[in-house]
Amino acid sequence: MPSSLSSGGREVVFVDGCRLPFQQSGTGYADLMAYDMGRMTLKGLLSRNDLDPDGVDRVVLGSVVQDVETSNVAREAALGAGIPKHVPAFTVTMACISSNQALTSGAELIAGGQADVVIAGGTETLSAPPIRLQPKVQRRLFQARKAKTLGDYLDLLKGLGLGDLLPEAPSIAEFSTGEVMGESADKLAAMFDVSREAQDEYALRSHEKAAEAREEGFLEEELVPASVPPDFDPITEDNGIREDTSMDKLSGLSPSFVKPYGTVSPGNSSPLTDGASAALVMSAEAAEERGYAPQATLRAYTYVAQDPGEELLLGPAYAMPQVLDAADLGVDDIDVFELHEAFAGQVLAVLRACASEAFANEHRDGADPMGEIPMDKLNTWGGSLSLGHPFGATGTRLVTTAAHRLHTEDGRFALVSACAAGGQGHALLLERA
């Protein structure tokens, strides 16, 4: 059920948001922990808003691929950023919409009167996924804690083969269905008859838009430059944007998930990315008291969930109309659309579903179709395909960009939406403050 934040509770405003420049995994942040990036982003947000950390009531971060050493990564990052030890912090996880969940959890604390000032965001490294030992070895290591003599240790090695010692890489497949996300995207694109060419064209557009936005300096406003040990060279730009790509280059790439006749290729998928983002949200009164000029007001949001086997990445097509209905708005009332681009095929499938009468009929109880999203209002500063997609950090990037675009493009309403593993989805409505 969509929640309308303005009715009932206190009004929640988005004061500011920022992020580290996103870096393709294995590049700029290859040696960092998610905690490092989270810490740097929190510190950046505090500094640029001149915010007294003592006044923060809660820190909430989203994260997907967990590091067991920092399982509550929000707490470690907050302490590291100098947020006082008496400020509680928690971590949430909801696949690619983890930081959306962080933000709305924070908003609920404010609306419900539990907090006035919340920092919400997300952090993710995909450069160093946790590698696990095989269960057979794990069990023996556990038993080894009790081993005393050499004989005990030798006993533990009995029956172990060389192959058992190979570590297991984490699977990127959906747990309940065993399907890899790229396969789901490929399937979804086929379901909505989205051609390879259309996907490549959309991917190209994402890179072109991102390059333009960078050129114009639009992205600068949301970036907190990073510098990383040991050489501390400044990192000031996203490094996934390919201004030199072309239809020729994109169409030459082989499909990576469904071979040989699939349509999803590395060129039209979002790349593995490291990065972090954070947003400052407050109650309207608190912002006023402290002298902050909010960028936007959070109006309504929802979460949806579908069958992970059939519609893994179609969540936005369900979530967006719900939020529009709750706010009594139509597609035409929205000036800014920010959609997460997991795969070009997924975005185009969502767009087609939104416009489709058949889809609304079959899947939304015969409701009217939401309508066509005009391309000139959609992701005009690039998206996850070009900027990159650090799973846990993308949500706050979308909201931050949407708020900034409302001001730059002189709009009133922005609709943010994203899909996530598990067949889940999210949409959030912002109104320019």
Binding site: S176, E183, D186, A190, V258, K259, Y261
Partner: protein, 716 residues
């Protein structure tokens, strides 16, 4: 661009010259390969060949759930003779040869089952692309119907995937799922369901452009074995030996199919195809094939609930005695196939939990064969062990699988009845105690029915639903519906000691004990009955069931027979050997029985048992005597069940005996077997047996009546 529309298919062509043949039989949910389909395919291929703009063709089904599910079996039943059937095979060869011979590349796009003729259409194309879905499968199941693949299957499959990979598919009719099919080269590429047509068009385009060369490399060892005549001869010999071992000569189809494969590979495609058509025609008119086709249709007719609309909703099934193998099996099919919540109850929570362990072990074996680990977990969470009767309050159906003792059953069912709702159906999985007797001790006898399962429940296809004297239609309908949902073939029978299946089986087993008393030898009798077509002989079955259980059943049956329940004049002689053996500590497979089990099946007869049957002196009995005493005892008793109204129809009797007891499928069941023997002949044989062995072989009067009238039990 040409458009061709027939009842069977639509031909469409894309702007760049890729034709698509949409197979779409009218008013059918799945496509079959009827003679009219072959004609339509022939016309479509002509149209494709005659149109210069068409570069390549895709063959695909317009049905959502399947490619082509095999030949139209109904047509099989209406052939005039072998030549007529052979001609159909030749028509298929002609149509598919045209597809193969076309200069324009063809691509089969397959989702769902591609069976028999459907598989052969796919084989005739140059390239195959299939969906990566669990419902997608390839098979040549003709041998299971006593036939062989008559549309070129015996010729094209070995050429595509190699002799050794092809033989098991042709000779056993086994399924090949998407991923294994790709690995063995039966399909060239996989794709998800929504992308199938587009991918097939793309493949057709690339084939036409010469951009793709299918990878048909066989493994090195396969190549080495299959490239020379000598080693191929070895493969044929091994296959022949295995067929003989497994079918004992009861099924003519597999050796014929093997001969077609051999002829095709050694003497060429034309010779192989000619033989394939000839054998196809001949096999269609063998009694074995006719019996198997008949069973196929009987099973299909039993897929519906005859009391449709009267079943009560069942959300929760409770199983009493769920810790045992039988109870756990019932719980498993209720949670898995039927998707119900299941309460497991036994003497204690610990014992009930053992049932969950049994389910987990069985489901774990099925992972990767139609079930995933995740699905297993979901099913496991539906099965909940409970400590007390109070926990059964939510049950809509209670199935008891407690020991075969009327007092025990009454005790647990009375306690159960106190907590369950007035509408809850109570089913007993007794194998022989009359349901009326069980219901007699309870408050609401109208809710009580029999649900007689066969062990091991997850794999045995039959459920015998028993209507007790007081059972309501709703209760019977509910039990039947749950049984169907559990994936069982359900027959409904009237009440009586041993109902139908246990009654005919126990008299058969009893006769086996009497044979031993007459000096027969264990191994010899078992071999004879296996040759007759049973999956195992009677003594092996005693050991499998367990002698204690067998003794219990004899007790139950014996007391009723003594009471004259099976006819005043019968003086049936019941052997008490099962109980004597059990008391002597011989229990069957769990220890020792008629055979010795040293933890496993050793195949050695336990000579000690002869002490209970008149001493170690054994004599070899004539095959015909053994076969006749055992099979006629069972068949005559089946007739008596029909005569008394225990069975509703001879059809139910045939289905029940084959699916529940392993009566030889090639003989189609006891009634079909009698019909085939000739009823007058059957009367004569029983008369002779009665003269030699006493009144237990007295022929049922229904048999005599039918014989006199020149009638048969099964209407053709």
């Amino acid at each position: 661009m040409p458009a061709l529309n027939s009842d069977e298919l639509r031909l469409e062509t894309s702007n760049d010259g890729i034709a698509t043949v949409w197979l779409d039989q009218p008013e059918q949910s799945v496509n079959t390969l009827a003679p009219s389909t072959l004609d339509a395919l022939d016309d479509a291929t002509d149209a494709i060949n005659a149109t210069p703009d068409i570069r390549a063709a895709v063959f695909i089904s317009a049905k959502p759930d399947g490619f082509v599910a095999g030949a139209d079996l109904d047509a099989l039943r209406h052939f005039d003779g072998p030549e007529d059937a052979a001609e159909l095979s030749r028509t298929a060869h002609r149509a598919l040869r045209k597809v193969r011979a076309s200069d324009k590349p063809s691509v089969a796009a397959i989702h769902g089952p591609a069976l028999g003729g459907g598989c052969e259409v796919a084989l005739a194309c140059d390239y195959r692309i299939a969906t990566n879905r669990p419902e997608t499968r390839f098979a040549l199941p003709e041998v299971q119907l006593g036939l062989l693949p008559g549309g070129g299957g015996t010729q094209l499959l070995p050429r595509l995937v190699g002799l050794q990979q092809a033989l098991p598919i042709i000779l056993t009719g086994k399924n090949v799922y998407a991923e294994p099919a790709r690995k063995m080269g039966l399909v060239d590429a996989l794709i998800h369901r929504p992308g199938l047509h587009r991918a097939a068009e793309e493949a057709a385009r690339r084939l036409a452009d010469g951009d793709v060369e299918p990878d048909r490399d066989k493994s090195f060892t396969d190549k080495a074995i299959e490239s020379n005549t000598l080693s191929r001869r070895f493969v044929y010999r091994q296959a022949r030996k295995q067929i003989q071992q497994e079918t004992r000569g009861n099924y003519p189809a597999p050796p014929r199919a093997l001969e077609c494969v051999r002829t095709g590979l050694e003497d060429g495609l034309d010779a192989g195809s000619r033989l394939e058509s000839r054998y196809f025609g001949e096999l269609a008119f063998t009694p074995e094939s006719q019996a198997l086709v008949d069973l196929f249709f009987l099973k299909q007719e039993h897929d519906k609930n005859p009391l449709h609309g009267q079943a009560r909703d069942v959300e929760t099934v409770a199983v009493l005695g769920a810790g045992g193998l039988m109870g756990a099996g019932i719980a498993e099919v209720s949670a898995h196939s039927a998707g119900r919540d299941v309460l497991l109850k036994d003497q204690s929570l610990e014992v009930a939990a053992q049932g969950r362990k049994t389910i987990w072990e069985d489901l774990s074996k099925k992972i990767g064969k139609g079930t995933t680990a995740f699905e297993r977990d979901v099913v496991m969470e539906r099965a909940r062990p409970v400590p007390g009767y109070d926990d059964l309050a939510d049950a809509d159906l209670v199935i008891e699988a407690v020991p075969e003792d009327l007092d025990v059953k009454h005790t647990v069912l009375r306690e159960t009845e106190e907590v369950i709702s007035d509408d809850c159906v109570i089913a007993s999985n007794t194998s022989g105690i009359p349901i009326t007797d069980i219901a007699g001790g309870l408050e609401r006898p109208e809710n009580v029915v029999g649900m007689h399962y066969f062990s091991p429940v997850p794999s045995m296809p039959l459920l015998e639903v028993v209507r007790g004297g007081a059972s309501s239609d709703e209760a019977v309908a509910t039990a039947t519906q749950v049984g169907l949902d559990q994936g069982k073939t359900v027959i409904t029978v009237e009440d009586g000691p041993g109902f139908y299946t246990t009654r005919i089986l126990s008299l058969y087993m009893n006769e086996a004990l009497l044979l031993l008393e007459a000096g027969a030898e264990v191994k010899q009798v078992d071999e004879i009955m296996e040759d007759f077509g049973f999956p195992m002989g009677p003594y092996e079955l005693f050991d499998l069931v367990g002698l204690r259980t067998a003794a219990k059943i004899t007790d139950v049956m014996g007391s009723y027979i003594d009471d004259g329940h099976l006819g005043e004049e019968r003086e049936a002689r019941l052997s008490d050997a099962a109980s004597t053996l059990a008391q002597a500590g011989l229990t069957g497979q769990k220890g020792e029985g008629f055979y010795e089990y040293d933890g496993r099946d050793t195949d050695g007869v336990n000579e000690e048992v002869y002490a209970f049957f008149g001493g170690p002196e054994r004599e070899e009995l004539a095959r015909q005597i053994v076969e006749e005493r055992l099979s006629m005892m069972m068949c005559a008793e089946a007739v008596r069940c029909l005569e008394e109204g225990i069975l509703e129809s001879a059809e139910d009797g045939d289905l029940g005996a084959v699916f529940g007891l392993g009566f030889p499928p090639s003989r189609g069941g006891p009634f079909r077997h009698l019909d085939r023997m000739g009823l007058e002949n059957a009367v004569t044989r029983l008369k002779r047996l009665e003269n030699q062995h006493g009144p237990r072989f007295a022929g049922p009067s229904l048999l005599a009546e039918k014989a006199d009238a020149g009638d048969a039990f099964r209407k053709e």
